[in-house]
């Protein structure tokens, strides 16, 4: 390490090998905060490591109290010379916020991180900042949902009970689709909801094509904007998006900047989701402050040719110099092609083997997949979209050769 020891260390909050690799390639001294089960691995490879049981701590402490509980972790990281914390997963965002509040002796960092961890707070902030959001409320029980469902339908003049306007129920603090329920009728409220769903965010339905953005930010300005098209929500995505969506890049960029201003973000990477309505309106869904899922960074690397994990670190690290950022990001409007990922979930309870169709492997857009028949044949029950078992990657210059199979093969059973 030698000379690097004089540099300030960054604390990576969450165990992520690609991020550690990026830090290593950028010559950034780091310390990792991970679950206790990562300890042996870290020791084997001599990686600076602080063990922290996020699962247990998140169960034992209320979100708001984590600033107080982060003190022990703060002292342990200080021993490593860490001065800045970067969150990598949804469950570590407020911990990183708490640590930064302690590093910078400014509690605002913690409360700022909570904006990303409480969906109602997030929406309110976006609304204040002038973004277009759905109608939303916080719900404490099924009666609240009934009332909200009725008020939305009253407002939309949906009084006959055939064609109700749906509403969404979401957990305040969970990533992806975990805890998400779509309510289409009064019966749904009884059928689909239990006490575990509360408290929750209740939200009117937003129409439109869903995209996510990966916005690399420095000094409150966008350095690079990737747009990812959700081809089949929760299953397949493509970056950059189809030409119709690409046409709207200036408007999407504008919405992202508006979001940055509204949330008062100086540095880092945000991962918002927008709904692009047919009338041209851009509705804000939600925003995360961490590495996105679904292999999106791999898609970016494939098509834009730079390492997005490195980009993430460079944008998040306050010590990054302007020289380092100069020329790092390519022109976002000049991708080499379109890259797509299809997340594969087994639909069987017990896996007998793999079924990779020849039509897939011979498809011009097919790139590779990472599936082997797993050792553990029993498929665990999943909540939300959970962890996918495998991924199929696509790549082609023509977006249709990527988008079409992303749509078609969602129906295919890769695990039989």
């Amino acid at each position: 390490m030698g000379a690097q020891d004089t540099q300030k260390r960054i604390a990576l909050i969450g165990w992520s090998l690609p991020i550690m690799e990026a830090a290593d390639r950028l010559n950034r001294p780091f310390v990792v905060v991970g679950m206790p089960n990562c300890q042996d691995y870290a020791k084997k490879y001599d990686l600076p490591f602080v063990s922290w049981d996020f699962e247990k701590m998140n169960k034992q402490t209320e979100m708001e109290d984590r600033l107080k509980h982060a003190e022990e972790l703060y002292y342990r990281l200080k021993d490593y010379g860490a001065e800045h914390a970067i969150p990598l997963f949804e469950e570590t965002v407020e911990w990183a916020g708490a640590l930064n509040a302690l590093f910078k002796e400014n509690p605002r960092h913690f409360y700022h991180s909570l904006l990303f961890r409480h969906k109602a707070r997030m929406k309110r902030r976006a609304l204040i900042g002038g973004l277009k959001v759905g109608v939303f409320e916080e719900g404490k029980n099924k009666n609240d949902v009934k009332r909200f469902f009725k008020s939305i339908n009253d407002a939309c003049l949906k009084i006959d009970n055939k064609d109700y306007e749906p509403v969404h129920i979401k957990a305040f603090d969970r990533a992806g689709a975990a805890g998400h329920r779509l309510i289409r009728s009064e019966e749904d409220i009884e059928k689909k909801l239990t006490d575990h769903n509360f408290p929750c965010l209740m939200e009117s339905h937003l129409d439109g094509t869903e995209v996510s953005c990966e916005v690399f930010i420095r000094n409150g300005k966008i350095l690079f904007l990737n747009i990812t098209e959700y081809v089949v929500f929760g299953y397949s995505m493509m970056a950059p998006p189809s030409p119709e969506i690409e046409k709207k890049r200036p408007q999407i960029r504008e919405a992202c900047q508006q979001l940055i201003d509204a949330f008062d973000i100086d540095c880092g990477v945000i991962h918002p989701e927008f709904f692009l309505a047919e009338d041209g309106r851009i509705n804000f869904g939600e925003v995360a402050f961490r590495v996105p899922g679904g292999h999106i960074y791999e898609l970016i690397q494939r098509t834009y040719g730079f390492n997005a994990f490195e980009g993430h670190l460079l944008c998040c690290d306050p010590n990054t110099t302007d020289e380092e950022l100069h020329d790092f990001f390519p022109d976002e409007t000049k991708p080499k092609g379109h890259a797509g990922s299809l997340l594969v979930y087994p639909r069987v309870k017990y896996i007998q083997g793999l079924n990779i169709p020849e039509t897939l492997e011979n498809h011009p857009g097919y790139d590779r997949h990472n599936m082997f028949t797993p050792v553990e044949r029993k498929v665990p029950d999943r909540e939300g979209y959970g962890n996918h078992h495998g991924t199929v990657f696509f790549y082609h210059e023509d977006s249709e050769h990527v988008r079409q199979p992303l749509q078609d093969f969602v129906e295919h059973d890769f695990y039989i």
């Binding site: 690609p18 490879y45 990686l47 590779r368 997949h369 990472n370 082997f372 797993p374």
Partner: protein, 661 residues
Amino acid sequence: MSVNPEKTLQSERFVQALHTLDQAQPFVKQLYQNNFFQEASRLMDSMDGMQMLYQYADQFDQAGVFEGGPWEDPSKLQPNLVNGSLRVDGLESVVTILSELRMLSIAKERQQHEKVTTTMAKKYLYEVMALNLDFIFPEETEQARIEQGKETERAQRLFQVIVDELSLKAISRTLIQEIKRLSIQRPIMVNRIHLMIHKGEQLLHTDVDEQDREELQQFHGAISRLTPLSQTHSEFPAYRSQLKTLSETELRQEAEAFSESMRETGLVSPYHAILVRYLNRFKPEMLPEALKLNNKGTANFEEHRPLIQELIKVAIHPPTSQSLYGLARMLERGVLSHFPVIPSLRRLIELDLQPDVRKTLLEAFPDTDGLTANDILVAGILSVLGQPLGIGQGLNPTCQSARALSLWSIHAPGHLLHLIARAARDGDIDLTFEGDRIHSRFLPGGLTPELHKELDPVSLVLVPHLDRIYAEMIRRVQFRLDDPHKWVNPAFYGEWIPRGFTKVFDHFTGNVTDFSPFVRLFYATHHPEYNEGYELIYPNPVGICVTTVHGKMLGFHAVSIQRIKKDPDGEYRIYFYNPNNDSSQNWGQGIEPAVQGHGEVEGESSLPFHEFVSRLYAFHYNPYEQGDAFAVEDSIVEKVEELARNSWGQEYHWTGKNTLG
């Protein structure tokens, strides 16, 4: 030559994946391994691809192909696991193929490895080849063709590459040695030996050495058509009716041939069983010859002739022919002279069996017509009473139960037969522990559902019960301040186990503590020169650290010391029973348990005294039978400690009184 563009693309992608993996830091290799395995697995689908993989195999270690996985250290790989791994649909077979190709490149001196020499790699691959003859000589039946998947085809391609690079001749020697090594221990279960003999049969059609061919043929004959008569009349009924036409001299020749072979190999041909059944009916006076009994055996036979004839009628059939060897050995051991044995055996012939016991026994002999579960059980009992050191744990972690069966077979056959009857008839056995009766029937757990069924009939019936009781005894004392075995072993095995107990590990810290007093105590209680001449009377169940050929800790294991005596060369040796039936493994540092040549009896392994002690970590002793620990020379203690420290001891902290600090 035309170039297949798709193949070129595949090769390019493979080389690129290897390059990417190679460039990655060790701690992130796993991010790139999957993609490499994907590309490699595509190449395995053609012979060209397999060849190409071998061309790059010398780079695999360097690139980190095996980093962080079970294949990382080639010196720890075990040849007998390869066949199973190659059949797994999934990553395991892919990595195994890559690992074998790596080994081949070491064997062919295409790369040097710090832990595996060329010779070691060759020896490993010869063993792998010997154990995978089914891939080298694929069965060309329609059924085999339909059943085989892509894994089988890939494995066949792998062995084509290996056979091209290494000679087939070398494996016939390995195979014969392996067959001999296992059969010399006279195990009850001979499935693995049979399998190897059948595989060896295929080598007879290649250009093997003449001597090897003869030996292979001898083994093959031992389990099949040994005599000219059985060759010309290979159908069982035909063979039997042909026996009727033989003169007494011819019958005697037939009996001699089979009994010779049985004594030579420990293996029994089904024709031998037919012959014995025939003699039993028409010429029972020839039975001692047909079993080649020694004087003691013959005397026993004469004394108990009606019972033995009944036992043959019940238990000796072509599928259970192996029990003939057990019967012969049982007679020579004089087991029938134990008063309770005869009535207990009679009871078992007619015992009402629990339905699940009957099912288990019949399933163990699937290819039999008309055999009853009682027949099978009695056959199993003959084996256990005749070959107490041939009892094996199979693939189950039940060395404790196997040791118990072995001890009882030697010293308490009546007790053993009682337990068998209880388990088979009542579905329950009970043992007393510190004043409480512990009934197996009421206990959960144990290994019953997962018990690997390749076991002798007695073990199939008893081990599930014994294992549950053992686990329960351990559970009851697990929070006491010393090792549970101290209390459990005497209660489980019986009064034969001395009450004194010691081990090298501190119960709380797990550190090796006071090693030198441990060694001294063992010498003072067990070594005839230091223990005032007390002889070991009953087997002593001890704990040992099994080590690899490189002396690395492999795991804890339970064996029983059977005898301690000077060998024919005048060196003190410890003779022990290893319930894994594979006793001549190489433990590193030149320590290789012997199974013959040093005065061992059938089924025993032996080591020079100090070498055994260097692997010992726990033993029982009789506090009233010990000599002076201080009389043991420092040089001996040092020698033992050095061997221990430089092998399994490397995994532990050493504290307390040790000679070497």
